[in-house]
Subunit: 386 residues, 4 copies
Amino acid sequence: MYEAKPEHHFTFGLWTVGNIGRDPFGNPTRQPLSAPYIVHKLAKLGAYGVNLHDNDLIPIDATSGERDQILRDFKKALSETGMKVPMATTNLFGDPAFKDGAFTNANARIRGYAIQKAMNAMDLGAELGAKTYVFWGGREGAEVDAGSNTLNALEYMREAMNFLAEYSEDQKYGYKFALEPKPNEPRGDIYFPVVGAALAFIYTLDKPDLFGLNPEVAHETMAGLNFVHAVAQAIDAKKLFHIDLNDQKMGRFDQDLRFGAENIKQAFLLVKLLEDTGYTGMKHFDAHALRTEDEAGVWDFAKGCMRTYLILAEKVKQFHADSEIKALLEHYHFKDPIVSGLTAKFSRDNAANLKAHTFDRAALGARGPGLERLDQLTMEVLLGTR
Amino acid sequence: MYEAKPEHHFTFGLWTVGNIGRDPFGNPTRQPLSAPYIVHKLAKLGAYGVNLHDNDLIPIDATSGERDQILRDFKKALSETGMKVPMATTNLFGDPAFKDGAFTNANARIRGYAIQKAMNAMDLGAELGAKTYVFWGGREGAEVDAGSNTLNALEYMREAMNFLAEYSEDQKYGYKFALEPKPNEPRGDIYFPVVGAALAFIYTLDKPDLFGLNPEVAHETMAGLNFVHAVAQAIDAKKLFHIDLNDQKMGRFDQDLRFGAENIKQAFLLVKLLEDTGYTGMKHFDAHALRTEDEAGVWDFAKGCMRTYLILAEKVKQFHADSEIKALLEHYHFKDPIVSGLTAKFSRDNAANLKAHTFDRAALGARGPGLERLDQLTMEVLLGTR
Amino acid sequence: MYEAKPEHHFTFGLWTVGNIGRDPFGNPTRQPLSAPYIVHKLAKLGAYGVNLHDNDLIPIDATSGERDQILRDFKKALSETGMKVPMATTNLFGDPAFKDGAFTNANARIRGYAIQKAMNAMDLGAELGAKTYVFWGGREGAEVDAGSNTLNALEYMREAMNFLAEYSEDQKYGYKFALEPKPNEPRGDIYFPVVGAALAFIYTLDKPDLFGLNPEVAHETMAGLNFVHAVAQAIDAKKLFHIDLNDQKMGRFDQDLRFGAENIKQAFLLVKLLEDTGYTGMKHFDAHALRTEDEAGVWDFAKGCMRTYLILAEKVKQFHADSEIKALLEHYHFKDPIVSGLTAKFSRDNAANLKAHTFDRAALGARGPGLERLDQLTMEVLLGTR
Amino acid sequence: MYEAKPEHHFTFGLWTVGNIGRDPFGNPTRQPLSAPYIVHKLAKLGAYGVNLHDNDLIPIDATSGERDQILRDFKKALSETGMKVPMATTNLFGDPAFKDGAFTNANARIRGYAIQKAMNAMDLGAELGAKTYVFWGGREGAEVDAGSNTLNALEYMREAMNFLAEYSEDQKYGYKFALEPKPNEPRGDIYFPVVGAALAFIYTLDKPDLFGLNPEVAHETMAGLNFVHAVAQAIDAKKLFHIDLNDQKMGRFDQDLRFGAENIKQAFLLVKLLEDTGYTGMKHFDAHALRTEDEAGVWDFAKGCMRTYLILAEKVKQFHADSEIKALLEHYHFKDPIVSGLTAKFSRDNAANLKAHTFDRAALGARGPGLERLDQLTMEVLLGTR
């Protein structure tokens, strides 16, 4: 029970379990792990696949001979284990060239280099079978808005997205693109800071159907926003292409904690939303073990992420099966077919009849929705005392 | 100099200068001011107009006789002063009936009542000449997501927006609708919490052209997001229909401070964005005097809002005229027509040539953009030492 | 099981279960409940006592006849139920006189009135048997620091605390005073914003032994601080005189949610700290039912607070009894008696020997503390899957 | 004008102007600068001195020969320029050995190593003439409170502080110790997160007189607290031993921006507090140039920090000389000698007379303090329009 299997579609990034524990104030605490080693370890833990940035696998300055050898070894590990590479992405943040942005840089040459690098990385991803291509614009932001690049940046980003979408189609890569928003860090302010902003931007692109979202728990939480609401809006717009699961305290640096480690209740509500709406995509744990941990801690971390998801999925079933909860939900979702009939769609008649309808304002205000009780029962489902 | 005139399009809400200083922990500190009195006072200070919720002017339980008398008095004040009512909106948050939402309430009857109330308020606004209709969904949110209303809420909101847009067209009111996002307070989490979320939602409506944004400094700042970036995205999407100017510290309750009172630099960058892009709409000060103040403080507050805007607008001109700043901006926006030619639009040739192009990665990373200097000069323009 | 009893020392304020659901944007959603009614209801739910501000019980403008009658009725309810009034406090925030502060007001007359009101409220509390007297300085803060009152405010606060402590001793009231910090709201910034600030201030008073802390989950959490750490510091300093339990999301308005409603893990760690250190004081639920609820929701809320505490206390026992957790804790708290002998206390010899000691820096850095595993097991204790 | 001179007591850390621009997502963007080079550059810009962690100057694995050579070169630069080293500190955060804490580590051996390293670093600082010794406990915190180290950590920290204070006295180093609080990053939660917490802790030490504070703008601001209030409390307690000037947006990662770059108004109020209270200590700019910048940007940054301070100090004089501001301040600080006589000190008579005093509550509530006007005038002093 609660054991991960490939059918659960759990994935990790090479950069997540491979994180070496360097932070702004300290040196690495763990040794690098080779990509094939990671593949084998994750396969044993029941993961479905592994995702990567171009430079997670191929160093930015690798010769083509080195590249070939690395790829051979990696593919061998994939084939030995049955692990997939469902998603790929480009590192457009690590190199000093991107220090002030990649696609949105005020320097035309850097924008060109970023698109070049992304094309190459898309080639790599396609070779590995990836069908989802993520754009996380870690450096696409600013500290100095007096630079007057804000409106340009939006235009530059659009150019890049339009260009790369056509490149993908021209190459018949079949990619779906998933934008991953983040409010800040490493930049003072990142463009498209939250799910809504990225979603809105998609509608201004040439081929909006190719683009969707890769929301991340920690990123939306950094801005103190309700992640479940954000994912719901993506689902409502049919734009949930991928999801990054982890955890985070509000209003602080990007923590990338083990899924569920901080906010169990929100994790439950998120799993509930995904399960209730039949999400079948990848559940990617974009997190890493605490910097305090050694390699054993890394695998404890990875197991914990998946196990917590499965425990919560079980609790979702229990929630739905609970008759007292069911009754509370029915009470809460009060129906009135006559009124609903009038509001469902505008017509001159509906408007007139609705205007003429008498509502008992005081009664509407007095009715209790039963939410304290519902919330407490939910908590007890979580705590296992129900 | 720095004196407000109607041509500046400064507006206030009846509820802003009329705020009586009640807060969650204390009773009112100021007497209510009548609407005609407010109109006359604001006219003297150089405002262009005054905005209102239905119940700012007409109490929710007024008889039709009372309503008519109030309207007569108010119109008289408008006509005596030349003041306009450019924007109107509905109070869908004050009455207990809306305690768990209005358009998005889980109770069908309350959703119906909310649409009815909005139609009536649109009638009132139209009668007063308003052309912009704002929706601020103060109660459209949740504390208990276990209520499982999140996806429904998006659907309900869409129904209401579609209905009211058709109502407006049917009545030939000519309204443009402006959505006003806010992340939280009074609800634990409000749906469409930030500019991006509201903007994205518009694209799912039946008549997206009728809908745009009414962003507010304080609301976006509560979530710690960069307001200038948010407004820029609205402008980029041609959706800046109205704007609410005030100020706020990040990560706390809705403060609605005097424009510029907290973050002078951001206020400057915002004025710069509005002036640089030729925004001609209303600049609405959705703020109120500190609760500590008496009526004299209220008018000091109102004058301060407008005066600060005009001072900053003057500094925008100075910024653009500064030759050292101009040179820094030119250095920053580095051009490369060859590369730009390749990235502007995808073609198989452009992609191939871009892939073949050699970029000097180290040189790109080494170049300094001069942003510390630019930022310091900006600050000195602000401080008046330049 | 999980049923509250007086011996658990659970208390509520008249203002908590009596909260009428008014907020900055909306009118009350619930009717006021009389104090005797509250006493009887809470007694039935198993509470130990009820706390109050002077004006929760006696309106600020009551005649002495009204006061006497109210007091008689209230005492009758206490005596019928065996309920206690362990804590009392003064409302120094509701009246407009205190709009810019009470004890710290820049106006000498208001400072005087505040002390007068506090003496009277202390008389009332003493008459009801209260032994803990709380100071929550809701209005002791500022929005405009240019007023140059910041240093004065600290001096004024000290004067007031010193005065009232002597008054208590002179009257032989036997009060212990508990300061309750809060970072903001209703003021832009409140003085003594967090536990540490209030604790530090105590050491500057004439009679520091009489003063301690009343920390509140929601208040410390508003500033994004770790509440468990704050309470630990109060315990370390022997200054945990009282505690306010509730819940809150970080970085937003004061939510006063049901205990455990937001952050189950922190609630558990807090209960663990209180139980592990043998805290025997009052556990006061300074929270209120959601504004959406009717009266039934209020009592669901009250029951939920206590029940959740008792469930978590049970889980603390389970945590301590878990042998795998025990082993992980032993591994984590690595002992080295020789080194500990050197560092426990300075002596010239200890310093010399410590300087001469060879530490294997690489080995110290390589060792894994096992925290990911420990944290996951803790979570599973919480989720009931262990 | 606005030119820095040694008498202004401006200092920088080797690690600040020497920052190479590495962050969690990217590699260094700048070359390291040698310590002597930094000393010469800062001297030319008018700084008073330069501060250091042990390993800023001497690599953690330097041989004693290397150490001696480095020291000789550094001292030569100091003597050529007249620059001082007024403050020193220990790097107890960079090495993996400290990944889970130094003085507060659950591992006794690491606690021992940390004290050893601090003694050696104190020897180095003393040799360079430092008189202030700073403790910033960057790693003294936790992500997993289930480790049950919270109370121990406070005890361990006390042991270390007591030990090192005695070591300093024994060695006749004459150090004053300054604790530097920070709420989080690199740890999830750092112990002694804010000024108040560190200040309170000092009173529990064996030799509290040797200990004070080194508050930092960015650190207190990360928690959304009012830094001016925090510094005022430190001054009130006579514990402002050193100060770190920089800037920061609330609720996000540690930005260490150029002084005044984010919040001009708070920077002004801080300079006002320091100047008004005659602070003569070091004004240390614990900040760094944006990662986007090259070396020229670094020196622009350093100049900007000092120049902004001097501009603001000039504006403080202007604020005090402004007669309208003076009048507003007098109105605000309302005096009543009779009431003040009663509240200044408790006596039975004073209490009785104060209780008997009649206050006109309504009048007290109605009076306007004039704060909107005062705040607007302050802003205009800042903007140079006054």
